[in-house]
Symmetry: C2
Subunit: 344 residues, 2 copies
DNA sequence: GGCGCCTCCTACATCGTTGTAGGAGCGAGC
DNA sequence: GCTCGCTCCTACAACGATGTAGGAGGCGCC
């Protein structure tokens, strides 16, 4: 592999001049610039990022800690963040935490090894009582989601409450009054499940409707399709009347929709179904699933931007403290064919 | 951030001694070792991987070029490869190629920037006529899949033909004779689609059965659920008899299964359904989907191992040439409830 | 006692790049 | 003619680690 010294020798200039050419330093004569570029071309020279990183103190890489990529939401989020990283000129190193505490702590420690300039962290296991751990982090950090909150750290989240509320209101507007909510977790009181339930409650109460716990579908084993199907089956088997379904994520909603259709119920005529997350699969379901787009692309773009801003701040002399930001992405209900007015 | 020099000063030894302690160099007195470790502890010192990489010439990172993580198969493959990387002590930098030629070429060029020691490349767009491009790569490279083949490069693939054949034979063994095959691509003649069709053909012909093209379901718009549903709907609407379905991937099979059930056909009694890939979703479908496990974990483990072997070979003096390997992972039909004997 | 070997440590160079300091050449202004 | 300032370039040090060479001290052996 050619080095700058090789290029310099071939072009008959100093190493630094080569560096200057490649970094668009203005005071280089045009003829020199061309000579250097020709040498670069001729040797197929590529700058060595490791050496550059050592010298400059930054690697141009950021970390992304998420539970697992096999989960479509995280896989798609990762794609969006990688794309946002490309736009901002940084590479993204993905560190799956596997829904484990050790995995999440390991991701935070990665910051000390000097390989990444900052970290986007989507905690799934660390909970509010661990807030000191993230507050102790001295490198640029942006938290994704509302699992773990600190006023000292940047956050980018989705509008869980508003999203669930809007989805529920869509069903109410279409004349549905018996709306099942699928995916509740017995143990969780801070995460997406609890917040989305809050939005559901708010929508019902705003219309003066009672929350009927017989319409609660639990999914402590995970937000999979199978659990969506099972939960709706239990509700129907119990003889509970139901004309609408809110899945706390798309997989649950899709599983429920399948179960309904297999039982001969028509979607949306008999039961309307709404999901949450707007994963790609939902667009291709039959019928296509109405869902809440939580603003995944905005989340990705904003998170990367905030992180890059914080990284840049470390390299400016001023060192004026950057105020922590809380950004809540815009959500939007994507209406497709799994919802529609209740036939009279 | 503390450096080795800080540790050395605190421990009262030379920088190199600190390095020796951390790298388990044997000739260090026990008392010295302890003194150094105490200093390390006290300063919270972590070795700087950038500096180590520059000096040693290897970064301990490998690249993984796949089309996109949002596609569940690739998301899960990425998880498996990240896990395999962890076992081998390397980190994995994921580079989504976005099903574009530029993306795939960019991933290959990444090898010249010195950030990764080698690349796992799953081509989706580069085709056999581009074989010279990958043969020209001078750094460690392992190709995944059969899209692009060269005898000069390591390959790790799945048994596409055998897998499709075994899946088809399972259906035949259960008394199915009218087996639809979903997901064929008009343009493709070298990739997974063509190979799996070959396995399907072989299974039928071995039993003396004709291949009926009216049972062909096309999916040029992509291997999504929606296309699986559409394809099976077209076959049924055309009045073609059908008691079995082979989806060329799980999404197609799941979409087809859904369509069948919505039409009141029972799975597996009326129509048995088999998929390919064994993605997580299939386990949670209703009924759970019988599918071909192409050996994803074995592929991940083997690919990482081959790549690491090739990387290590570059750093051994001998430089004896490593013979290119072609590894075909073991496949296995995972029988679940979407298949079963045909009721008489 | 002299020699060689083993243990334990240090000094220095090195990886490939970029920041700093400064020098040479040239035109403009007094 | 001298200074000043601008342009263009070079030499050297530095980032933080590891490889090499070698030195000091202790021990055993002839």
């Amino acid at each position: 592999m050619a080095t700058m010294a090789d290029v310099a020798r071939l072009a008959g200039v100093s190493v630094k001049t080569v560096s200057n050419v490649l970094n668009d330093y203005p005071y280089v004569r045009e003829t020199t610039r061309e000579r250097v570029m020709r040498a670069v071309e001729q040797l197929g020279y590529r700058v060595n990022v490791t050496a550059r990183s050592l010298r400059s103190g930054r690697t141009g890489m950021i970390g992304l800690a998420v539970p697992e990529l096999g989960q479509p939401y995280f896989g798609e989020l990762a794609d969006d963040i990688l794309a946002a990283g490309r736009r901002h000129g940084v590479q993204v190193l993905i560190e799956p935490t596997g829904y484990t505490r050790e995995g999440e702590l390991a991701a935070l420690e990665e910051l000390d090894r000097g390989l990444i300039d900052g970290l986007l962290f989507s905690p799934a296991v660390l909970a509010p009582e661990d807030v000191e751990i993230v507050e102790a982090v001295r490198q640029p950090l942006v938290l994704l989601g509302e699992q773990l909150f600190s006023s000292k750290v940047d956050h980018v989240t989705m509008r869980n409450v508003e999203g669930a509320r809007a989805a529920t209101e869509l069903l109410l507007d279409q004349g549905r009054t018996r709306i099942a909510i699928l995916g509740l977790l017995h143990r969780e009181h801070v995460g997406a499940s609890a917040l989305r339930l809050e939005g559901y409650r708010a929508a019902l109460e705003a219309r003066g409707l009672e929350v009927d716990e017989r319409l609660f579908g639990w999914a402590d084993e995970g937000w999979h399709r199978g659990n969506g199907a099972r939960a709706v089956a239990q509700i129907l088997d119990a003889g509970v009347e139901c004309d609408g379904v809110l899945g706390l994520n798309d997989a649950l909603a899709l599983g429920a929709m399948h179960e309904l259709q297999v039982r001969g119920l028509r979607v949306p005529q008999d039961v309307a179904v709404v999901g949450f997350d707007d994963v790609e699969d939902s667009r291709f379901a039959t019928p296509p699933l109405t869902t809440v787009d939580p603003g995944r692309r905005e989340i990705a773009e904003t998170a990367v931007e905030l992180l890059c801003r914080r990284i840049d701040a470390r390299f400016r002399a001023g060192a004026e403290p950057v105020e922590p930001v809380l950004h809540r992405a815009a959500m939007r209900v994507v209406e497709r064919e799994s919802t529609g007015p209740r036939p009279s």
